[in-house]
């Protein structure tokens, strides 16, 4: 009994036991992640072989430069100056001395090596977490030597995905309308290039006017509009094979053909009798279906990534605004209510946002809003800019911007620009000629 009483009192004796303290961290810095891209090491024999084939002195350095440039232009990474590197590429690839990389404040490190194996290019690369002193990823690619630029883009995508948690967008292409000549007599050609502006190629000769090329989200197919004997025609072009076919001649004016997410349909608008409606065409059986029927101008349709909804712009309210409807044309809802005119809505591949062009008080804006019209954000403002197109990961927009002509009618130019969703990372994409109407492809290496 006495024992029990003592035990009871012992239990009552207080003990200093604290609950674990919890601290909430809801903010961080927005600085790009500092990382080091060590040149890919290459042995002398391989270097000489590639020099002969590709006319590049050191293909390892060239590939690492592509990776570095891609990551830098994303605005999310800060590649450190190579002059600060303390470890040689060949040794770093074997076993990085993390203290050295830590010293230059690198949080991630990319190393690798290039080999010439059986007439092919073999690239190995490793992504290291410098602070944790561990490997995050290691991959190897083998391809024909001419694909060396793509290898750089693929490495960039893999690193981007591992460090940001979303797919990259570097191994992609951009199709656009190349423009040359005076403003009143422009020669317009279809052109394609890598997303970083390299490998530019012209796909048409410029005899006919071409407009609004759009990539199929599911493949490397393009649809565009071209005038043949002053009649608009919708074409399909396979980028890989170069084959081209006419989808059809349509009554009156045809605008802005665009693929459905599965690539089986084309959605576009026809203008007839002073009004314009939205139609779809099944590419297998060529059946055309009318989606909207309103005595107003409905144009620029774009599917949601799941294909269930369509966004378009219409002046049915008296002013051009953005609307969303179901894919059968029912349940039409206006989503833009701000001041000014809204146009060219494009649904993000992520599905969460709609990009648009806005005209307000003589200025053009590229902006985004949620699919219900809330959270409108204007990313960039200029004299004239339009036609946003999303990167396949839904983080960057490409569009074109025109400059004013001076009093003599000179000084006009049209260039491609990109901006990310933060609105801070705005960059011009260099093209050999003036450029307009860009469209971003899906990832080539899916």
């Amino acid at each position: 009994m006495l024992k029990k009483i003592i035990l009871f009192f012992i239990i009552l004796i207080p003990v200093n036991a604290f609950a674990l303290i919890e601290v909430d961290i809801t903010r961080g810095n927005l600085d790009p992640l500092p990382l080091a891209v060590s040149p890919l090491s290459i042995d002398e024999t391989s270097r000489k072989s590639f020099e002969k084939i590709l006319k590049k002195e050191n293909i390892g350095s060239e590939i690492s430069n592509i990776v570095e440039n891609n990551l830098k232009t994303s605005g999310l990474f800060n590649p450190l100056d190579k002059k600060a590197f303390l470890q040689a590429p060949d040794i770093a690839n074997l076993k990085p001395r993390f203290e050295d990389w830590n010293l230059i404040k690198a949080q991630a490190l990319i190393t690798g090596k290039v080999n010439y194996v059986d007439d092919k290019l073999r690239v190995e690369f490793r992504l290291w977490d410098v602070l944790a002193a561990k490997e995050m990823m290691a991959l190897a690619f083998t391809t024909v030597p001419n694909n060396w630029r793509r290898v750089g883009h693929i490495i960039s995508d893999k690193v981007y995905e591992r460090l940001t948690g979303e797919k990259g967008y570097f191994d992609t292409r951009i199709i656009y309308v190349s423009e040359e000549g005076p403003k009143t007599q422009r020669i317009k050609k279809l052109a394609i290039m890598d997303q970083d502006g390299a490998n530019n190629k012209f796909l048409t000769l410029g005899n006919e006017l071409v407009l609004t090329p759009r990539f199929n989200p599911a493949s490397q197919m393009v649809t565009y509009l071209s005038y043949f004997k002053n009649m608009p025609r919708v074409y399909l072009l396979d980028i890989e094979t170069g084959t081209q076919e006419v989808v059809g001649d349509f009554p009156g004016m045809t605008f802005a053909p665009r693929f459905s997410p599965d690539g089986k349909k084309i959605i576009m608008s026809f203008a007839k009798d002073g009004k314009s409606d939205i139609y779809t065409m099944d590419l297998e059986n060529r059946i055309v279906e009318k989606i909207t029927n309103h005595p107003s101008i409905d144009t620029s349709p774009s599917y949601s990534p799941d294909g269930k909804y369509i966004t378009f712009n219409s002046d049915r309210s008296g002013y051009q605004q953005i609307y969303v409807m179901k894919n059968d044309g029912s349940d039409i809802k206006r989503i833009s209510f701000g001041n000014g005119l809204y146009g060219t809505p494009v649904w993000s591949p992520r599905g969460d946002l709609i990009a648009f062009t806005k005209l307000h008080k003589g200025k053009f804006y590229i902006g985004v809003m949620r699919t219900d019209g809330s959270g409108e954000r204007l990313l960039t403002e200029n004299y004239y800019q339009e036609a946003p197109s999303w990167s396949p990961n839904g983080r960057v927009l490409i569009f074109y911007r025109e400059t004013k002509t001076d009093s003599k009618g000179e000084g006009f130019s049209a260039k491609l620009w990109s901006i990310d969703l933060t609105g801070y990372n705005e960059r011009q994409i260099k093209t050999p000629t003036d450029a307009s109407d860009p469209s971003w492809s899906s990832l080539l290496s899916n």
């Binding site: 809801t26 810095n29 994303s74 999310l76």
Partner: protein
């Protein structure tokens, strides 16, 4: 009857004893207390104020001024230099010394750094004041008329001040008292920790917003100096779950943030409270939820 009375009295006495043990003031004893730097300096000045030694008075006034500076700066440059020269043997300092020493006797760079660090830490430590007093006493020893008397007084002052310091160290302010007893951080302490982490955490801006993957919890075991002894990702299973790559990316950024911030600048007192701490990294606000 007598037996029952004895048992009852004994039990009552035991009850009173345990109740006394349970009182909260007894729980305060083992707790760390923040150093009170300024108090001792003032007292030293009072104790060394000698009316019949005009030269000493002047010197003490000088010392007083010096002490005032020390209170604000907490790190007298002269003092640091002195300790450095004592502990660090640099190659430039004396070539002969280096030559005479056996290789084993040459301090390793790491050790040297450690020594310097420990001296620097003392800047924040009240123990340093004792050395400061010693400095003053040495200084006065050369110039005062009656060095022995002065030394005795200063020694006494030293003892008194250290006693008082100990006493004060055992006392805690009302605020700290409250936080220590509740086991929580004060708002200031919490904000100080948050401010450190904010600067170290590079949020992966490309990360798409997914409400269920925006919170990463990490538990840190800290040493008294704020350095990380151990870290544990509380959702580590989720990190390695296929399809949760976004969460893994966020968790990686959290781990990097904690490593960059290591060692943390921790509260001066109450180690028991914060030796284990959980940080909840919530990116939803930053990634536009």
């Amino acid at each position: 009857m007598n037996r029952s009375l004895i048992i009852s009295s004994a039990l009552h006495a035991l009850l009173i004893f345990i109740t006394a043990m349970s009182l909260p003031f007894l729980a305060k004893k083992p707790l760390d207390v923040p150093p009170v730097v300024s108090v001792e300096l003032i007292q030293i000045a009072e104790k060394t104020n000698i009316p019949f030694a005009p030269k000493a008075k002047k010197i003490i006034e000088k010392v007083k001024e010096k002490e005032k500076k020390l209170v604000s700066e907490q790190a007298p440059p002269k003092k640091v230099e002195k300790t450095k020269t004592k502990t660090v043997i640099s190659p430039d300092q004396n070539n002969k010394k280096v030559e005479n020493q056996t290789p084993e006797a040459i301090p390793l760079p790491e050790k040297t750094v450690k020594k310097v660090e420990t001296k620097e830490e003392k800047k924040q430590n009240p123990d340093k004041l004792d050395e400061e007093v010693k400095q003053v006493s040495e200084f006065e020893k050369d110039d005062l008329f009656d060095p022995n008397e002065l030394k005795a007084k200063i020694d006494k002052a030293k003892i008194d001040s250290s006693k008082q310091k100990l006493k004060k160290n055992n006392e805690i302010t009302q605020d700290q008292d409250k936080s220590v007893l509740t086991g929580k951080l004060t708002i200031t302490e919490e904000q100080a920790l948050q401010a450190q982490i904010f600067t170290c955490w590079s949020i992966p801006l490309g990360l798409p917003y997914a409400p269920e993957d925006m919170l990463v919890r990490i538990k840190l075991s800290l040493k008294p100096d704020g350095s990380i002894d151990d870290m544990e990702m509380l959702d580590h299973v989720k990190m390695n779950t296929p399809g949760k790559e976004r969460f893994r990316t966020l968790a990686d950024s959290v781990r990097r943030a904690v490593q960059i911030c290591n060692p943390l600048r921790v509260p001066a007192s109450g180690y028991e409270r914060w030796k284990n701490i959980i940080f909840n990294f919530d990116a939803s606000e930053m990634l536009g939820g």
